[in-house]
Symmetry: C2
Subunit: 164 residues, 2 copies
């Protein structure tokens, strides 16, 4: 994966993110996004405003995945960050998710955040849970049945946290 680089996303990248973003939302197994998003209405759900930031993982001019990150809450909660990431189906199993995850943690550390929190990791998304745990995240708690998985029915949502 030495040829994959991570860079800030530009508005022009959206047309390359949207196909796998839409496929991920449509599959409905990993994120609680509205199910009726279009390329137009979906963009603000992914592109973060400063002080947040959105990046893409790219190899040979092809966007393989994307991550978005920034403060988890405003005001007196803005010292804790959060992030989401998605990998294009065709690029799965190549370590792109791990590269993005490591970038997310490094970014928060550089920006001076005191921790990174995931508010809603679907418990059946075991690849994501294992990836975050391998980076030091712990499951703080699980809200039972808080997500409707098309495949698994009502499943829990983990709150995960990494202190920095």
């Amino acid at each position: 994966m030495s040829d994959v680089r991570i860079r800030a996303a530009t508005e022009a990248d959206w047309s390359r993110i949207w196909p796998f973003f839409a496929a991920t939302v449509r599959a409905g197994e990993t994120y609680a996004f509205p199910m009726d998003l279009t390329a137009e209405t979906g963009r603000p759900w992914w592109f973060a405003s400063p002080p947040g930031c959105t990046v893409v993982a790219e190899a040979d001019g092809v966007v393989l995945g994307s991550a978005t990150m920034g403060p988890n809450r405003p005001g007196h909660g803005d010292h804790i960050g959060t992030a989401s990431f998605m990998v294009a189906p065709a690029a799965r199993g190549r370590g792109v998710g791990r590269l993005l995850a490591e970038h997310v943690v490094a970014w928060h550390r550089e920006q001076g955040y005191r921790g990174v929190q995931f508010n809603a990791v679907v418990e059946t998304n075991t690849a994501a849970v294992a990836l975050w745990q391998s980076l030091g995240f712990e499951i703080v708690g699980t809200v039972p049945g808080a997500f409707r998985s098309p495949q698994h029915g009502y499943v829990g949502l983990h709150v995960m946290f990494l202190p920095l």
Copy 2:
């Protein structure tokens, strides 16, 4: 408290909610709202759009408190609700918070939600924690140091949940 009634908030109520909303945000001990909200920019942080709903607790034409409620997440998470509530300083200790809390739970039950989740209950807000626990909510987990309390420094944020 038999004279206190709870009714849907109207746009005209905002000018009566704003003073205690602003005081609560400014105190900065209980909610992670942006600290620079104005009466104009604050309104969408409190008024919920359908299917959510915002109510006021009123007695003798005076608004004593307000609560806002609705789905905690979109899409495959919208079967779990969430809520926030605030009581005017002058009305505290009169049971207005409990009345609003009971209304919030009843509303979610009537609307067919499968549970109510609070994402960020400040652990030093012991009155709120005790109130929710008395209604059956449990602490699912606590994100350590996720809130900067002016009085207490870095304190935890509880995720609380009531299955319905």
